[in-house]
Symmetry: C2
Subunit: 357 residues, 2 copies
DNA sequence: ACGGTTTACCCAAACGTTTGGGCCAAACGT
DNA sequence: ACGTTTGGCCCAAACGTTTGGGTAAACCGT
């Protein structure tokens, strides 16, 4: 225990042991295929390689970064990692980063502008090559400032005008939910729409409202409330909906965690999800299928979003052009909105399950 | 757009502009109180400071790390960040790290030994000063190897013999659950115990079983099943419990996510939580209070665990001695096990709610 | 006035890489 | 036989810090 950590092997050590110059060793081990051909004779290459992995040589990233002015580090900013959606996206980012030989710093900003600034400065101080923002606020000029400074970045999950991002097609997702509820005959619906600065909530709500308007059933203002994205937010938003008017026949909560909070609020009011009203969430986080009344939701490709976000940033870093990418959502219908499934689950007749219509 | 990123300000630039030597500037800006006193006259100090923050000087961490052989980087290994428990612990780590001027790399190992090794090598290659393991396997010698190499580390969430860790007192937590259920008159109980290599599951189950044995009600083997820690695992574990014998009157699932999976399984079997049987989870993740039948659980100080883990690692890095720390759990009784609460919630009489006894 | 201390700096090496250029000898072309 | 190319390597500077050791001038006490 407590063995002194051995000093890591350097190029110099390898060079000395082989009677070579350090630059030769460097080229042998690290030169890209294009240029390293004439670095050394093949027996020498062989000797170097062998000794390097015999000694367990590991390139010192600090020396390398210092010399090359490139850190191979990516900063990732998210509202909070304890939100499963963001954590899953980050997993995708990290996975893809590892494949590209990059490492990531992730930081929570809690969606607070000052913290976003502070954390951005922090990752920049760590000399990251680029940043992935998962916490973009659509109404702030912050990202414009960052762009003006020449910092390469992309957005994930949320979008903001004029910046490249990888997001779920939230507008379409919202429309799908509307389509689904319209098909079931719902006419009086409400939305718990999330934070007003997040494009996710805005677009999901927008698609949803547009589709209802097209159906000749515009959603009145008091039926759309903003809220935080966590369970507490969903609960509070739902309370406000219930307070603002009669019971709607369906409730669209723009994220699953919020929807779970909504479930709590409805329960407290003695309302039964799937009977007294339909509830739909968004994201298809792994939990909501397990709920006592499984939740209808929209599956968004969170992991893939992270992977693509990282890949897009890599493109940007290479100086290639990159454009915003919309990933396709998928409606997942479950018992919380579907009378058939509800009935099957509860072993009752569908007629009993549609009392809310 | 695409403004060239300005080359960062260096000590050299400041020194040149002021006609000073770079070493003087370095000492002025960075020397610790003890030694830097005689670095420069106070007017000089003033000039340096002023120019430094006028130019927005930021110390280059790579140069610093290279020179000092210290990176101020911490590696954090977790099974997966999309598990809210680990994400919350990590938030604590990251928060405390920022307070100490440290940055963290976090990586998912999916609880797979090869990935643990690979990710450990990866963070080591990044020259972290120390590691926080959130994915310790109690049965593998891996941590011993890491320790033998002289790498400073601490564990969080899980413990392993001979290594310092910061964990919840899981054994006590298990006992508390047992105590609670015994008080309600339960005699035939089952446990979904999590992965067999995780100290969390082992100790929670151990405390629980010990307490029942002390009460003269030893839990038979077929009433204890292992499982993965996610919702699917909880579901599968519960299925196995149901298959292995008659319906127990209470089910202890050693983590909340698993408990939610259990809820799904029970629902599929037409069993009502809180009526047909009691269910208890562990961790008090923010969701479980919002469930249609709120879940009884044990609150574990996840965030605090992360904070303390980081602080403990800092101690270790300073060469001071550190010892394993147990944080106190707290039982949170809700309707999933408490007939009173269940009755109040459902607006029925408690008598109707205890049909399971 | 003179030895000793203190003040306020400067100097240079070092951390481990990368990379443009150089050099010598062998191979090649004519 | 004489330039030219090529192969195989070495050289040295640079990236931006930190840090142990100077040194010259100012200050002090006597």
């Amino acid at each position: 225990m407590g063995a002194k950590r051995a000093r890591p092997v350097t190029l110099q050590m390898i060079a000395d042991q082989l009677g070579l110059h350090v630059s030769t060793v460097s080229r042998v081990l690290h030169a890209k295929p294009g240029e390293g051909l004439r670095a050394a004779s093949s027996p020498t290459v062989e000797r170097v390689r062998r000794l390097a992995d015999e000694l367990g040589y590991q390139r010192n990233p600090h020396a390398m970064s210092l010399r090359t002015q490139r850190s191979n580090l990516i900063g990732v900013l998210v509202p909070r990692l304890s939100d499963v959606v963001l954590a899953t996206i980050y997993e995708g980012v990290e996975e893809a980063a590892a494949e590209h030989g990059l490492s990531t710093f992730v930081a929570n900003t809690r969606d607070i502008p000052e913290e976003q600034r502070a954390r951005t400065e922090m990752v920049l101080a760590r000399r990251v090559d680029g940043i992935i923002f998962g916490d973009a606020h659509s109404d702030s000029g912050f990202l414009d400032e960052v762009a003006a400074r020449g910092v390469p970045f992309v957005l994930v999950n949320r979008q903001a005008a004029g910046h490249v991002s990888v997001v779920c097609d939230d507008y379409l997702g919202g429309r799908m939910v509307a389509e689904h509820l319209l098909g079931l005959g719902h006419e009086d619906v409400a939305v718990v729409a999330g934070e007003p600065y997040a494009s996710t909530g805005i677009n999901r709500t927008g698609g949803f409202a547009d589709r209802f308007r097209e159906a000749g059933l515009p959603i009145p203002e008091h039926r759309i409330v903003h809220s935080r994205f966590d369970a507490r937010g969903g609960r509070e938003g739902t309370e406000r909906v219930l307070k603002a008017g009669p019971l709607p026949s369906a409730l669209f909560v723009v994220n699953d965690f919020g929807a779970i909070g909504a479930l709590g609020a409805l329960r407290d009011h003695g309302l039964r999800v799937g009977v007294d009203l339909a509830v739909v969430g968004f994201n298809d986080t792994p939990l909501v299928a397990e709920l006592p009344v499984p939740l209808t939701t929209v599956r968004s490709p969170m992991h893939e979003m992270g992977r693509r976000g990282l890949r897009k940033l890599v493109r940007v870093l290479e100086g290639r052009r990159a454009e915003t990418e919309l990933l396709r959502p998928e409606l997942v219908v479950r018992a919380s909105s579907d009378p058939e499934q509800y009935a099957a689950l509860m072993k009752i007749t569908p007629a009993e399950a549609v009392r809310h219509r």
